[in-house]
């Protein structure tokens, strides 16, 4: 439990930082697809000890990202349809793999929704590594992300290297997703990228202010959610997201009732 809490709090850093840009760039569906797409990778990794769940998840996330980026270029198949099919297919592959030796090795509920007890020291270590990487990468890249998101047409000739920025963000989403899996599971990890940042969006006036706000909100939601999950003996990912959703709803309601801040709404 201690380790889960430690990992969770450390994870709130990359989740908040990357999540801010997921919300501002409307990459929620993509994040959901990456999360779900790790499922077959984890199943394989658990069944083949030489690979292990982390590498399995990382490979699956990379494969799904490459597929989506490659196929979404075709204009005939648009609107995230390929993303939708890819994520469903990934789940199916995972489900199919759940036979024989793989079935025994895989605690399905824990893989899908996270676990309080099965967090290893290595998991915590990886979370720290990604947290540091996220701080550095998004710290350096923050202004480029800002200009590219707000006004691509101006940013590109001004020297923003748009392709690198885009790929960097997609890679960050994958990396954060993979290290967050042990705590919250593949089906709901995207919720932790989107919900705290969406809540921050309501509360903050500027994009840069959202970054620390999302991290703080995420940390609180993870902390409270984990404690509640232990009390209720329910999967942590589900409890955290339910709580995060409730928080978002409350903040939105408060914003409607007391529009004191001058924020753009209509």
């Amino acid at each position: 439990m201690q380790r889960a809490l430690l990992a969770g709090l450390v994870l709130s850093v990359p989740l908040g930082l990357v999540g801010t840009w997921v919300v501002l760039r409307a990459l929620a569906f993509f994040s959901h697809a990456v999360g779900v797409g790790t499922f077959p990778g984890v199943v394989v990794g658990l069944g083949v000890p030489a690979i292990g769940p982390f590498l399995g998840a990382a490979a699956a996330a990379a494969a799904l990202t490459a597929t989506v980026v490659g196929l979404e270029r075709d204009e005939r198949v648009r609107g995230g349809a390929v993303t939708g099919l890819a994520l469903s297919a990934a789940m199916a592959v995972g489900a199919v793999l759940l036979t024989g030796a793989f079935a025994v090795a895989t605690p399905v509920e824990a893989v899908l929704f996270g676990s309080l007890l099965a967090i290893t020291e290595a998991d915590v270590g990886r979370a720290v590594a990604v947290a540091v990487l996220a701080l550095v990468a998004l710290g350096i890249g923050a202004r480029r992300l800002l200009t590219v998101t707000f006004d691509r047409h101006w940013a590109a000739p001004a020297g923003a290297r748009v392709v690198l920025v885009d790929l960097g963000l997609l890679g960050s989403i994958s990396a954060t997703t993979v290290v967050a899996l042990p705590v919250v599971g593949s089906l709901l990890v995207s919720g932790l990228l989107v919900l705290p940042a969406a809540t921050a969006r309501v509360l903050c006036r500027g994009a840069f202010a959202m970054l620390p706000a999302a991290c703080a909100i995420c940390a609180a939601e993870i902390g409270i959610g984990l404690a509640l999950a232990r009390e209720l003996d329910a999967p942590p990912g589900a409890v955290i997201c339910a709580g995060a959703g409730a928080t978002f709803a409350v903040v939105m309601l408060a914003d409607r009732l007391w529009p004191g801040r001058r924020g753009s709404r209509r």
């Binding site: 350096i140 101006w154 000739p157 020297g159 753009s264």
Partner: protein
Amino acid sequence: MSAAITVDGLGVSFGARTALEDVTFAVPAGAFVGVLGPNGAGKTTLLRALLGDVAHSGRLDVERPVAYVPQLSHTQDAFPIDALGVVLMGTYPRLGWWRRPSRTDREGARALLDRVGLADRARTPFDELSGGQRQRVLLARALAQQGRVMLLDEPLSGADARSRELVLDVIAEQCRRGGTVLMTTHDLAEAARVCDRMLVLNRALVAEGSTEDIFTEDVLRRAYGGDVLVLDGRPALIDDPHHHDRSPERLPWSG
């Protein structure tokens, strides 16, 4: 005096489609050039080529950095940033990744907002501003880029009278100081009024020169095809179809 912008045999293609073909011209420093042509003529493509944003054939010579005011419609809607934040973006290319905008930069940005008449709007969220005000903020951002050459893409379309006035004022000042300004527009009357020279594009360069050189029936027909009316022996252009306003434009001297 060498030209601020030199273009020689410029060609741009997107796959099978040729957007620009063998364009050649030179613009001296201090000039205010209007780029005219119907939709799809390649006006925006020309700007992008000058910015170094598209692959091209032929030679291009322009002094960098180039300040840019893109079309307003391309900015993301409802992005959490205020007017000052947008102007500060103009300083980013100069700063490099390790430095943050200094107090001098911030004060400079405020001064630029004041220059475009929006000093009291520095903290206003960008999407709460009117179309004309937003255009002015983008202009201030371009000024913050501190380029000798400035390119503007349709800066006057949809802007209110005060915004247009301010934009043209800033442009005039730039040119007085030796800067060079290129502006695309489909508003011929306005271009005729304010620009020193004009380029007329329709994939290729149809004509180049002063107002008198351009506003002949021959040139207008080659550029705009059938949308030219002849009234009292003088050519007049029917306004761009996408503007829903089908009244023929009278040329400045046609009385």
